[in-house]
């Protein structure tokens, strides 16, 4: 069994983003009497940054246990998933750069009780993906092309993982 957490450096960066965003969007609402359209736009964005800040706080309290049996997330919202009941696996890659470098991945695991999400800032993300991919292979899950490409980029063989987009006559 391995314990993983989100590293404090990544979390601090996210706290900084949330604070900067709140200041830049909420600040004008406090100091300048804006018109209704601006209240909706800036207020909506400030709400997003607030949610993001709270979400980062939740991540700081989160611990992920990866084992042969499954994955368990403990924190304010605890949840668990056994590999034997894995229903779906998706990996998406995001980057804010135009050349799409220096990005991060997001892993979504579907189980009977809902979906659990992780991103590649998590310590031991590669290990988690390897175990999830092995479980998907065992369960005979079909994955989409983007997920298979992203698995390939992480050095995980796509053999044995069916493609949901595979051409069928």
């Amino acid at each position: 069994m391995k314990l993983a957490r989100y590293p404090i450096n990544a979390l601090l960066a996210d706290y900084g983003r949330a604070a900067l965003g709140l200041a830049a969007t909420g600040g004008p609402l406090l100091f300048v009497p804006p018109n209704p359209a601006m209240v909706i736009i800036l207020g909506g964005m400030a709400g997003l940054f607030l949610i993001f800040g709270l979400r980062t706080g939740l991540r700081q309290l989160t611990t992920v246990e990866v084992s042969e049996r499954g994955v368990r997330v403990t924190g304010l919202r605890s949840t668990a998933l056994d590999w034997t009941v894995l229903k779906g696996l998706r990996i998406r890659y995001y980057s804010t750069r135009r050349d799409r470098t220096q990005g991060w991945m997001q892993l979504k695991l579907d189980g009977p009780d809902g979906t659990i999400g992780f991103d590649s800032h998590l310590d031991g993300f590669d290990e988690l993906v390897k175990r999830a991919a092995a479980a998907a292979r065992t369960a005979g899950l079909t994955l989409n092309e983007a997920t298979l490409d992203n698995l390939g980029a992480l050095g995980i063989e796509r053999a044995g993982l069916g493609s949901a987009d595979e051409a069928r006559p």
Partner: protein, 332 residues
């Protein structure tokens, strides 16, 4: 996706602040201000200028204040929906733009729809029938479209529409509807005039899109996954639509960022030639006459639309194609 959204929004904030500073600096760069230009114009016409009146106007419009104060007042006004006052038109900026903005959006939206409807079937046909006589003919038409100047095509189309259909020369409606409230007759008149600027402005974009779609699709059609799909017996049309066409659309999603500012500023020269009541000519006049708040508001509006457009296209790309590029890397 939330993290991506937040990170993209964070990038937008300093970008917009920098753009507002640059825009304000640009509109302040020419020597003097609107009142200096106004005084010079009056003097060139031999009219007397009362220095006290000019000083009064300068104080009233805040032109005597330090630049940073003028900038803060301008940005603060924008946040309150007040885009400033046009010296040349002696009206608030929002009143000047008025109907023109909606007519500009209408013309540009119809042009984009026209471009996509015409370019997609032709681009797909050209790529799937490469080096056929139809491909050569459509390529020739595409090159003609790219090479024909807008203003020339505008003049030809105005003449053609007038001689063939009796459409009045220039404008987006018959003269009797200008300044009138909206009615079915006015809408009909707009529709009768609308197709001319749509074709004129859309022709080069259509030709360009045909060329790009053809090239992108040809690249994709030669890849191994298409051969595999064919070997597995996938019907040709389904194979084309589901795989190579989808992959070749990514550059067009990236182009969404360019469409939004076009909604406001597109085809200024065509608008001047065709006397269209759109925003392009007003922007041109505002820049020439140093009408700083009108020009500044336009430039800021265009910049904001560009940033929002790029943001939307990035979101769409992230949603449609969330794959890592092999030259990329993960940040930890």
């Amino acid at each position: 996706m939330l993290i991506y959204l937040i990170r993209r929004l964070i990038i937008m904030i300093p970008t917009l602040i920098a753009i507002s500073v640059i825009t304000f600096t640009i509109i302040q760069l020419p020597p003097g201000d609107y009142l200096t230009t106004y005084v010079a114009e009056l003097q060139s016409q031999g009219e007397a200028v009362d220095p006290k009146k000019i000083e009064f106007l300068r104080q009233q419009y805040g032109l005597d204040r330090p630049k940073y104060e003028q900038y803060l007042l301008w940005v603060g006004g924008i946040l309150q929906g007040d885009f400033g006052y046009s010296f040349e038109h002696s009206l608030p900026v929002t009143e000047i733009i008025g109907d023109r903005l909606w007519l500009t959006v209408l013309v540009t939206f119809c042009t984009i729809v026209f471009t996509w409807i015409v370019a997609f079937p032709i681009g797909i046909y050209s790529a799937t029938h490469q080096y056929s006589w139809a491909d050569y003919s459509l390529t020739l038409v595409g090159f003609l479209g790219l090479a024909t100047p807008h203003f020339l095509l505008a003049l030809v189309m105005l003449y053609f529409a007038n001689v063939t259909f009796g459409t009045s020369i220039g404008g987006l409606m018959d003269e009797q509807f200008i300044g009138q409230s909206w009615s079915w007759a006015k809408i009909k008149s707009v529709l009768e005039h609308l197709w001319i600027p749509v074709i004129v402005i859309g022709t080069s974009g259509t030709a360009g899109m045909i060329r790009r779609l053809r090239a992108n699709l040809l690249d994709e059609l030669q890849k191994q996954y298409v051969t595999t799909g064919r070997a597995k017996g996938l019907p040709p049309f389904r194979l084309l639509i589901k795989y190579p066409l989808r992959m070749s659309l990514n550059p067009f999603i990236s182009d969404i960022g360019d469409y939004l500012p076009d909604l406001v500023s597109s085809a200024t020269i065509v608008s001047v030639v065709m006397s269209l009541p759109t925003t392009g000519p007003i922007l041109l006049d505002a820049l020439r006459s140093q009408d700083m708040y009108l020009a500044g508001s336009f430039l800021m509006f265009l910049a904001v639309l560009t940033v929002i457009g790029v943001f939307l296209s990035d979101l769409a790309l992230a949603a449609f194609d969330p794959r890592i590029r092999l030259h990329g890397g993960l940040s930890r």
